[in-house]
Symmetry: C2
Subunit: 468 residues, 2 copies
């Protein structure tokens, strides 16, 4: 089949106006970081699960690769085609309806192209919480969140995207439909296909819809900032907060003082609510969600933080006295990435570690980097409660990014950590996968890929390194 | 290779005394319900992961199937060999050490043969909670819990076994070792092999060790019994309890009055703590776990239950005033199975449904059963908070169990439910899988099985129906 026959065929499936080529296709061909631009035969925008199945079937028959894409906000270019121009980009953005909300089952059923914020909003209007929350929530889609097993700020309490999904609807690489849209909390009938598709970055099939868990809306939320003299002390505070708040502890973020100073330098209208602190101290942002009342959450937070002050775990504590002050605290945290974007070059790492090993890892890696790359400055922050650090660096001119990453990732691997905690593999981290996964695991992954997608139709060149 | 050469070879691996045949093997060859007895070449009891790998390699080379077995407490005979006598039963019971507890990471690393109660105990001694809890906890093993994705009474808050595992160590059907013993809360580096092994009932590999999540011990736990006039009212109470307690609601069990009357008849020393109630009413056992104090949990429970009384959702409420009274309430719940075991015949179903559909399902199915099998009596109880019912029946003499199950399971399937919520497929429910899974899903499962175990060494004849 010639490309033009295929395109005519796809236009017949989804409508002439939804097969984009030329300039119309451009916005879909460059990744979020604007570092990788691919080429494609076309961008195809189906409106339904059945149209997705037809598109995939036709592409498979023509031997044309399919690159599924949601909001195109990924960090590893998993949704960007290669530069061969052979692939079809399959955009799910038109599949954006909320199919159902079931209040007694506490579920919401949504199509893959729903923007995360719209799902949060629909849940809230129904008097429920959908807790997945991350920086890109205004443009990322739930299909992309599931395909990449997205994390964010509430993982400590509610888990990653994986833990929030009960059922999926998936179009297979053969263009068949797996009807797995279950809304069951318990179902032990066979292999866990759901979790295999989640996090597979579109290489095993196209997620077209999902059943997601809903939670009660908390009655009150309180935020506090606490200054600790080191990461050991921050871990002690984490244990104290877990014991005191239980599942009420919905966020425990850590930021080095240098990160916060960058924020107040870049955005002078933002202020730190505590007085000057030592260079090597850390700031913890913690959030308590409460099912009782504002007063109860306030009392709880003060009880735990007073005890932490008395125990010497924290030097200073500020509890937000209003919702707007809570927003200010979160804005400080979320502005770090923006402030770092102003630096001439920032080398980023999205790593996770066994939580207990984090203080020693940071100390040792800071030292090793300073020795190997003189003049490097650290800008470390992240989700300490999940063991997930954005271990970011501002190198001196001349340092090679790949060398820095190699040093950091080798140390992460040696400490039993992950070189991609939240962001996935995509195109960008395939070499890391090859380096750090052992052959048994790589072989298992290849066997699964080959079994489910023998033609390699679905998102080839992503996640898996070439296999002998 | 002749069987006797293989056995000598296995004895060289694991020690003469750990290759059991004849009468020594018998306890491993009959399933927990004493309904299915298989035969085996031998029962082999390795002491380490490397011995497991050697045993599997040798069996694979000899074309001998391997049937992994933990505490042999499963309900579906997944760990019982067929009657060909060709297989080796691989007992993990000697691999029972706790390898590590990491308090800052909140993890415990255990070998597969650890008895669940020993894991709970080790966690408690370290000041932490390992929340998996089920009837067989004194003899089931954590390896079996993971292989079957066990449920139990705390799923509402903490999830199934799947949600409690961070990492696994697995011996593949080729006798290779997958080193997946990670203790990371976030790790998006490739396909989710962990969750594929969990719940696969030993058909894809042998789980030899796991890293499990630990939680803070609650400061207080309160239990209450509430009588509701129907399941609709019980669901209203569930929503009220979820909103009021949040994650503090750690159990929400439901029991029909007939179940409780059976208990007090069979065990006259047990008493119901409320006065006589209508035949069609239901009793809810709810448990609140609190991170604050005894007093706070008492206040919380009373506040929510008073509101439920006022709203007319419940007719009667008894809050346990001591730990021993809590134990009495739980004993009532746990005695139902024992009381039903005294009945001449009990037809059991382990089903789950979208929670909102449960009242209508029970009403309609009760009616359909009464019409089709005159004289049948219902004995329904279960984990309402998870949508999981043990929908059990006492049929009149002459009714055919398979016909009853067909009627119930057809209705479960039509309502979007699962015909095996907790217990898995094993040998016993393979026909159900064939009947209720569509071909796309069955084909996906077969492709995965064939990809990972092309020789069909691991637990053949379990989970998957024969495939054309």
């Amino acid at each position: 089949m010639t490309p033009s026959v295929l395109l005519a065929d796809l236009a017949a499936c989804v409508g002439e106006g939804h097969v984009l080529t030329g300039n119309d296709a451009d916005p879909y061909l460059t990744d979020w970081r604007r570092a990788i631009t691919g080429r494609a035969l076309a961008v195809v925008r189906p409106a339904s699960r059945d149209e997705v199945a037809q598109v995939v079937r036709r592409c498979a028959a023509a031997g044309v690769p399919v690159v599924p894409q949601g909001g195109n906000t990924g960090q590893v270019a998993a949704a960007t085609p290669d530069d061969s121009g052979r692939a079809v980009v399959l955009s799910l953005l038109r599949m954006n309806s909320v199919r159902n909300i079931d209040l007694d089952t506490d579920t919401i059923t949504v199509e893959a192209g729903c923007v995360l914020q719209a799902v949060q909003q629909a849940a809230r209007e129904a008097g429920r919480l959908f807790p997945l929350s991350l920086g890109a929530e205004g443009s990322c889609t739930i299909g992309g969140n599931l395909a990449t097993n997205a994390g964010g700020t509430q993982v400590l309490r509610y888990g990653n995207a994986r833990e929030l999904a009960l059922g999926l609807e998936v179009v297979t690489p053969q263009g068949e439909i797996w009807h797995g849209l279950r809304c069951l909390r318990k179902d032990n009938t066979g292999y866990d296909l759901r979790d295999l598709y989640i996090g597979s970055e579109g290489t095993l099939g196209v997620i077209t819809a999902a059943v997601l868990k809903l939670f009660p809306l908390p009655r009150a939320q309180r935020t506090a900032l606490a200054v600790t003299s080191g990461l050991h002390e921050a871990l002690s505070l984490l244990q104290r907060a877990r014991a005191g708040f239980g599942a009420g502890l919905t966020a425990f973020e850590v930021m080095s003082m240098h990160c916060l100073w960058d924020v107040t330098t870049a955005f002078p209208q933002q202020r730190l609510p505590f007085s000057a602190t030592a260079e090597h101290s850390w700031c913890v942002l913690l959030e308590l969600s409460d099912n009782e009342s504002e007063q109860h959450s306030q009392d709880q937070l003060e009880a735990v933080l007073s005890a932490a002050l008395e125990a010497g775990e924290v030097q200073d504590v500020v509890v937000a006295m209003s919702e707007s002050q809570s927003v200010e605290f979160w804005t400080l945290r979320e502005s770090i990435t923006l402030a770092l974007a102003l630096a001439p070059a920032c080398v980023k790492h999205d790593i996770s570690l066994p939580t207990s090993r984090i203080p020693e890892f940071v100390r040792g890696t800071d030292q090793a980097l300073a020795a190997a790359f003189p003049g490097v400055e650290m800008r470390v922050f992240g989700h300490l409660g999940d063991g997930n650090l954005h271990y970011n660096l501002l190198p001196a001119p001349g340092a090679v990014e790949a060398d820095i990453q190699r040093l950091v990732h080798d140390r992460v691997h040696a400490a039993g950590g992950s070189v991609s905690a939240e962001q996935g593999i995509g195109q960008r981290r395939i070499e890391d996968l090859r380096r750090y996964k052992n052959d048994v695991e790589l072989a298992l992954m290849h066997r699964i890929k080959t079994a489910l997608d023998p033609q390699s139709v679905m998102n080839p060149g992503k996640v898996l390194p070439p296999w002998p």
